[in-house]
């Protein structure tokens, strides 16, 4: 193991632990960015250039921004006063420690793991593109469909739904003597209008 690998691994693990344990959620999101960038550096260290840069583009670029926006939209950016851990936190820590012990024991004692380090394989973008267009073309199409459906679904879920009472009673509002509630287009519409 090279010293660079150990250094990057330590930084990544500390950043991940900080992302899971800090009180302020904005600090958690920023630690998460460091952890994900460290993982990208680990991929680059292992010779997977394309995956490393895809990790930076997708995680550091998009997912981190999504998380920061979710933190701000749910107004949980202030440091909470009450406990940040749920009541059964001790059990959770014990379970994850057991999981780590099991995985670590398996990694250290498996007889089938290859012992010698092979020479670094070549993985050019041309090879990856060739494979994506020939052997993996069906998964690629499926992933494209899945991404489209998931993003449309996310927009529909997060959209402010019109309350069914107001939309249904709008047609016969006059016959109902105007008793129906006005459609609730308060703060969120104004806020969504400001976002690009």
């Amino acid at each position: 193991m090279s010293p660079a690998f150990i250094l990057i691994a330590i930084v990544t693990l500390f950043a991940a632990a900080a992302a899971m344990s800090l009180r302020n959620l904005v600090h958690c999101a920023l630690s998460l960015v460091i952890a994900l960038a460290g993982l990208a550096a680990l991929y680059l260290n292992l010779g997977a250039q394309f995956v490393g840069f895809a990790q930076i583009l997708v995680y550091v670029g998009a997912v981190a921004i999504l998380i920061v926006f979710a933190v701000l939209l749910t107004r949980s950016d202030a440091t909470p006063n009450q406990a940040i851990l749920s009541p059964g936190w001790f059990t959770g820590i014990v379970v994850s420690a057991v999981v780590f012990a099991t995985l670590g024991w398996a990694a250290l004692n498996s007889p089938g793991l290859p012992k010698e380090t092979p020479p670094a394989p070549v993985a050019t973008v041309k090879n990856i593109g060739d494979l994506l267009m020939t052997r993996f073309v069906l998964p690629l199409e499926v992933i494209g469909l899945l991404l489209t459906a998931a993003l449309i679904g996310a927009v529909i879920i997060a959209m402010k739904e019109e309350s069914p009472n107001s939309s249904r009673s709008r047609g016969n509002e006059a016959s109902l003597s105007g008793k129906s509630e006005p459609p609730h287009v308060g703060s969120y519409k104004a806020k969504e209008g400001g976002a690009p």
Partner: protein
């Protein structure tokens, strides 16, 4: 300890950290962040086995990681949209306070 075992240990520790966060934190956003960390630990395993395992020129591990990153992006978008919708309904993102199934 071979380099492959080092990678596997780092990935196991990252998975345990993500699991502990996803299980113990009360904030729904941080539970989602823990799930992302677990997905990334699995990706690191795939890359490590691609690098040190046999037959690396088939690029199978790398392909799995590329598809897994795409799926994780979709999962993050849908999960955060759900959290925002839940926040509109309950006015909280505290997982311990979301108890009733009937809306």
């Amino acid at each position: 300890m071979t380099p492959l075992q080092g990678c596997l240990l780092v990935s196991a520790l990252l998975f345990a950290i993500g699991l502990a966060g996803a299980v113990t934190r009360r904030n729904a956003i941080l539970a989602l962040v823990g799930i992302e960390l677990m997905l990334n630990a699995a990706n690191l395993n795939f890359i490590a086995f691609w690098r040190y395992g046999p037959n690396p020129e088939a690029l199978s591990g790398m392909m799995v990681v590329i598809f897994s990153i795409a799926i994780a992006a979709a999962e993050a978008a849908v999960g955060l949209a759900l959290i925002i919708a839940i926040y509109r309904h309950y006015r909280t993102v505290n997982l311990d306070e979301m108890r009733n199934l009937k809306g």
